[in-house]
């Protein structure tokens, strides 16, 4: 008996279904493979070597073709422009990156890609410490642009961002946000608000030092706040970066590089006025949540993989024991799912951040001044390639409200290093 046409159709369909399945598998492999390419950042060494033009070109090029790391590249480019003295250009980029950091919307594709592919395929929004530092630098530059109110708003934003935690609610413990908000508030004519922020800065600093942050719990810059009209800020050293833990590749830990400089010495008109002190420990901020030290940053997907794997095994064994095929199937699916989930950690981080934020608060007479900043190397000597001079004009004291000056120096080699010791100066 010859087979009916219906049976023939069914027979010819079977290989097609198999082909379709193999095609789906092939596409999934191709798409999965596309999402499995590790993040390769542009070199950051030119920035740390003081070759700022080269660094700018590299970051700018990457910014134009960014794929999920626009925020990161914008922040690194902004840092470079800031180091070059381009206040408006740096502010614009920090500001834009800061707004993008507030955009949490993730497309369906991005969410699926993050689950199926690598963690670093999602749009980067930054860790709390990076988000807080974006706000702090936006604020410092707003101050330099003559917008102390916008500066204060940025410092307040830094407090909010530092307090963002996923598991528990902690208060912000990053003292620079409060301390700089105190300066901005006073400049805005709000003395009582300034005192309140200063008090919060003290509490945050004491809490951080008690939990292991470097530096003094009550730095001189805090004590001299009331009597000062010039704040010299220094971004000192090279900040931490992310690495995968050797024993747990799904865990991200922060690694600290060997530092070349440890503090900055400040001269005004050739006279040594003091050395900067730590007001914010970036390494501590990156490694802690509300003062609690982290073993590592573990992304949600790694937790999901572990949970689904365990649940799958339990269901499968239970299903075998009870001879329950449904339970066995559910267990097998969960186990299979956990096997296919990639838990490659997201190692992206803002690589041009400093190791510490330091400050010295000074009282200087109104008028024009030459401020010379030199960085002290870890062996105690002055590394002259980092030294630079600034010319500032300090406003009159009888102005309607106290106008202060904030000067910010970064410890990267200066484009034209000042190699002479100022009068009354350094050894």
């Amino acid at each position: 008996m010859s087979p009916s046409p219906r049976t023939l159709r069914r027979r010819t369909r079977r290989p097609c279904t198999r082909q379709l399945a193999s095609r789906v598998a092939l596409w999934a492999t191709v798409l999965g493979g596309a999402a499995c390419t590790a993040w390769v950042p542009p070199p950051v060494e030119p920035y740390w070597q003081g070759r700022l033009d080269v660094a700018e070109e590299l970051f700018r090029e990457r910014l134009d073709s960014s794929d999920g790391d626009w925020v990161l590249m914008a922040n690194e480019l902004a840092t470079t422009l800031d180091a070059k003295g381009d206040v408006d250009g740096a502010w614009r980029l920090f500001y834009d990156a800061g707004r993008a950091m507030e955009t949490w919307d993730a497309s369906f594709g991005e969410r699926v890609g993050t689950v199926v592919g690598r963690e670093d395929t999602r749009e980067y929004r930054g860790e709390p410490y990076e988000r807080a530092l974006n706000s702090i630098y936006t604020g410092i530059l707003a101050f330099e642009r003559g917008e102390p109110d916008n500066a204060r708003a940025s410092f307040k934003e830094a407090m909010l961002r530092d307090a963002e935690q996923s598991e528990e609610e902690f208060g912000s413990d990053f003292a620079p946000s409060f301390y700089l908000a105190a300066w901005a508030s006073r400049d805005n004519g709000q003395a009582s608000e300034a005192r309140s922020f200063l008090q919060e800065a003290r509490q945050a600093r004491q809490g951080a030092v008690a939990h292991g942050a470097r530096g003094k719990s009550d730095p001189l810059a805090f004590r001299n706040f009331e009597a000062s009209n010039l704040l010299v800020l220094a971004s000192v050293g090279r900040g931490p970066w992310k690495v995968a833990r050797r024993d747990r590749p799904d865990m991200v830990v922060m690694a600290s590089p060997t530092q070349r400089v440890r503090a900055a010495r400040v001269f005004v008109d050739g006279v040594l006025r003091g050395t900067t002190e730590v007001i914010g420990d970036v390494d501590f901020q990156a490694n802690t949540r509300g003062g609690r030290w982290l073993d590592g940053i573990r992304e949600g997907k790694a937790v999901f993989k572990e949970v689904s794997g365990t649940a799958g095994t339990v269901l499968l064994l239970e299903g075998i024991d009870r001879d329950d095929k449904g339970m066995m199937l559910a267990g097998a699916i969960a186990l299979l799912g956990s096997l296919f989930i990639s838990v490659d950690p997201d190692l992206r981080c803002w690589r041009t951040l400093p190791d510490t934020l330091q400050a010295i608060a000074l009282d200087v007479t109104p008028g024009e001044h030459r401020v010379f900043v030199e960085f002290i190397a870890t062996d105690g000597r002055v590394d002259s390639q980092y030294s630079r001079e600034y010319r500032i004009t300090v406003p009159a004291r009888d102005a309607p409200r106290l106008h202060t000056t904030i000067l910010h120096a970064r410890s990267v080699p200066a484009p034209t290093p000042h190699r002479y010791p100022p009068t009354g100066g350094s050894p």
Partner: protein, 201 residues
Amino acid sequence: MNSCFSRTARLAITLTLVFLAGCARSHMRVDPDVDDGVGGGGTESQDVRTMADQMSRDLLAQAPLDASHGTPSLYVVGLDNNASHPIDKRMVVEMIRTRLVQHGRDRVRVLNRDASTLQEVQAERLAKREGAVEGSQKKALLGSDYVLTGTVRTISKRGRDGMSSDYWVYSFVLVDLESSEQIWANEYDFKWAGNRPAVYR
């Protein structure tokens, strides 16, 4: 034969879809008054435009400007940011000023008191008076009858599981520079609320 055709057709459809997906425009011109779908939580283009339009039109329609001594004059002093987020203050101020100039030609004279512009004006006046450059018209610098000021405030809340909300209020007032009377005020507000998707927690 049929199977072969359907296989070829399926391949063609797949390739066409892949091609179309690859050719989809990633950048396009969009209406600045419409939500761009990118998401956010701050002052967006539609806020700035709506605010500038509303404030300038309402001021020109409602403010009791004294025109007894000719067309009154005003200048926009800027925005005082009391919020918990930075904003591009200059953009907001410039848009309001532009609209006041556009719509208030007969009702009000808008002065530009930006420090850099004033510096340019003074340098040019000096050059004309010293004969360094030619200038037929010599006028006095205009004094202002009114000043338009603005303040931005926010109430920001952060909760568990990435929940957040930000309430924004932009308030504007017009003050008589002789009497200090506040003769006009208006505000523009909006609120954002949301949470971080699980992939960001």
